[in-house]
């Protein structure tokens, strides 16, 4: 099912608006990536760009992966695109 189709089938009401807002977030981050392709590799905000000392400890990174399929599937997104990190973090917090 496409996000456009989901939107087209939404009823009226607050719940539906909140849902549409989440669909919008998906478009928002796509737009950000389109406009700022460097975000895939570096920090978005000027003030942080190049100034964060990221850990490159691969072993710890692997240990952090918990083996939950959705989390594993989300890892490349977090690392590659920095997209929906907030949502993934929220999900991680619930498992």
């Amino acid at each position: 099912v496409s996000p456009r189709e989901l939107e087209s089938k939404l009823p009226r009401g607050d719940g539906a608006s909140a849902y549409a807002r989440q669909l919008c977030r998906r478009d928002f981050y796509a737009q950000i990536l389109l406009r700022f392709p460097a975000n895939a590799r570096s920090e978005y905000q000027d003030r942080y760009r190049g100034s964060i000392r990221w850990s490159r400890a691969e072993k710890r990174f692997d240990a952090w992966r918990e083996g939950f399929p959705l989390v594993d599937a989300g890892m490349p997104i977090v690392d590659h695109a920095a997209a929906r990190r907030d949502a993934l973090e929220r999900y991680r917090a619930t498992v």
Partner: protein
Amino acid sequence: VTALMWFTRDLRVNDKPALRAALDRHERVVSLFCFDDRLLGGRHASGPRTQFLIECLSELASALRHRGSGLVVRRGRPERELATLARELDASEVFVSDDVSPFARRRVKAVGAALAETAAELRPTEGLFVADSLRAIETTTRDPRTVFTRFHRTWSQQPRRELARLRVPAGTRVEAPAW
């Protein structure tokens, strides 16, 4: 005449404008998915993700089969596989959903360059997102909308495409003859 439908993500047949356009303009549409080792392996290799991908592909193949078509699966660099298949089938157009990530953009560029050596033209088509013209959402000074609430306001008023439905319901053998 023949078109290729190159599936990358959004492995579905309904509301897939690239597929809709291919079917509207061509007698024969051949669908392809290309396994790319750059995505399967390396640092981001993920068993569950690959498993999910394979299950989605299997569902896609069966959706295409129910409509009298099928899915060609290749493994390799998409630029090479698509150019080879385009030549084999004498395809005139290759449809793909237009994507936003740097990787996807490099990939589509490489495919476009490889197809330039064939008779086929690449047709990146909208459809991965709710609003089709994400680039059109900008500030009055033509800068990107970087604040979500402002983006949301403009986005809500953007035009929406009609759902790109397939003309023929599942079970009817008319479009997209088998290959």
